[in-house]
């Protein structure tokens, strides 16, 4: 949580990290790789854009950021996603629960983009619920620009990590073990 505050302040480098996990989500990569989105991110004070594109085939445009715009880089997979998340000031993620809770656990502002191409798309349930509770922003590839334009990070409520103790307690009681 402190990380977010630091990054909002003095540090000039502010990275947006885009992650699609192990999926193929070209619609998201394409949506991020548009002029309106990169310009809006730049206007909002972000300096770097790193895209983890997974199994997608759409290759985003790299940029060294010479013209004062975003520095854009991409890769397919990495074993150190956690490091990218930690150093990010904003995360734009697919709707996988692993990705969502890892980001929220680090206290990073998060935009979840739902992949509408997936059949049985129960994943949007979780993103919608957490957006309703103001823990993250919820977007579709087509509405990503509007979401970034209209977002106010101050309105986000930090997510308090869950607790396995209630389940553990019920299981223990059910099996006849005493409470400690």
């Amino acid at each position: 949580m402190g990380g977010g505050v630091d990054d909002n302040g003095v540090k000039p480098k502010k990275t947006v990290f885009v992650t699609v996990g192990t999926t193929c989500f070209d619609a998201l990569v394409k949506a991020v790789d548009t002029q309106e989105v990169t310009e809006e991110l730049s206007r909002k004070g972000y300096t770097h854009l790193v895209i983890q594109m997974g199994r997608g085939t759409y290759i985003p445009t790299k940029s060294a950021g010479e013209d004062g715009g975003l520095t854009v880089d991409y890769f397919t997979f990495s074993s150190s996603i956690a490091e990218y998340l930690k150093s990010a000031s904003l995360v734009i993620s697919h709707a996988g629960s692993g990705s969502i809770f890892e980001t929220l656990g680090l206290g990073k502002p998060l935009i979840v983009v739902v992949n509408e191409d997936l059949m049985d798309n129960h994943q949007s349930e979780l993103a919608e619920e957490l957006a309703e509770r103001k823990h993250l922003f919820y977007a579709r590839p087509q509405t990503l620009y509007q979401t970034i334009e209209g977002m106010n990070l101050e309105t986000l409520i930090p997510y308090l990590p869950g607790d396995a103790m209630p389940v553990a307690k019920i299981i223990n009681r059910f099996l006849g073990f005493p409470d400690d």
Partner: protein
């Protein structure tokens, strides 16, 4: 009197095997209802002996949630622990091994081999596999699941979907009906399920195979009243 009796007897002679069959069926049905009834009630574990525990790891987010639950359980009560994951999922068992290694570090005893085992199970159906070939693979998966369950015979089963856990839970239930082994089956619905139970969750709920089903969102509990709302695990 005697005549009437023998007459009755001769009538009974023909369908005798049918009567036996019906009787067996009735006994089985009664047994199934008894098992379902007993499963919904807490155990009276007066000896407080540790319970052998089967932990079925789903993959990705499912595994992360399950390992969070395992961290919250007393390792000396839930022992030995057998972790099972799909043979196509090479991350889940690794993560479980990391967790178990940290348990060994905490207790200072180098007993990970005794307390925890790790096994793989064939998956009945891969994503995108055709339904025709999945009949065969489902059969193989079922036989493998049966083999594993005979070997493990756990007293407690912890699972949270997706499909991998279902055949194992069905076999565990059959073991209960047949009196082979009494397992308490606990199913934790994924945090990603906010409005509807997953297919595995729904089947275990409707067929009353799981002793307890936990859900992580209150609206889900309202929709399925026999579930237990426990808040978010993540």
């Amino acid at each position: 009197m005697e005549k009437g009796n023998s007459c009755c007897f001769s009538i009974m002679m023909v369908p005798n095997s049918i009567v036996v069959l019906i009787a067996i069926n009735i006994i089985i049905v009664i047994r199934i209802f008894y098992v379902i009834h007993q499963s919904s009630k807490p155990l009276r574990n007066l000896s407080l002996e540790p319970v052998s525990t089967l932990i079925i790891l789903g993959s990705g987010g499912h595994t992360a949630e399950m390992l969070n639950l395992i961290r919250g359980l007393q390792k000396n009560r839930f022992t030995p622990r057998v972790y099972v994951a799909a043979s196509t999922d090479n991350m889940s068992l690794q993560k479980a091994q990391v967790l178990e290694a940290s348990v060994v570090d905490q207790t200072g005893a180098g007993k990970v081999k005794e307390a925890a085992q790790f096994m793989q199970i064939y998956r009945s159906r891969e994503v995108g596999q055709s339904y025709l070939t999945s009949v065969g693979t489902t059969l193989i998966a079922l036989v493998h699941a049966l083999f594993l369950m005979i070997k493990i015979r756990p007293q407690v089963i912890l699972c949270n979907g997706p499909g991998t856990c279902f055949p194992l839970c069905v076999i565990a239930f059959l073991f209960k009906v047949l009196g082979v082994r009494w397992s308490s089956i606990f199913y934790v619905e994924s945090i990603a399920r906010v409005r509807r139970l997953s297919l595995s969750g729904l089947l275990l709920y409707k067929l009353r195979i799981a002793d307890l089903i936990f859900v992580q969102w209150p609206q889900l509990q309202r929709k399925y009243p026999r579930t237990n709302y426990v808040g978010c695990l993540m």
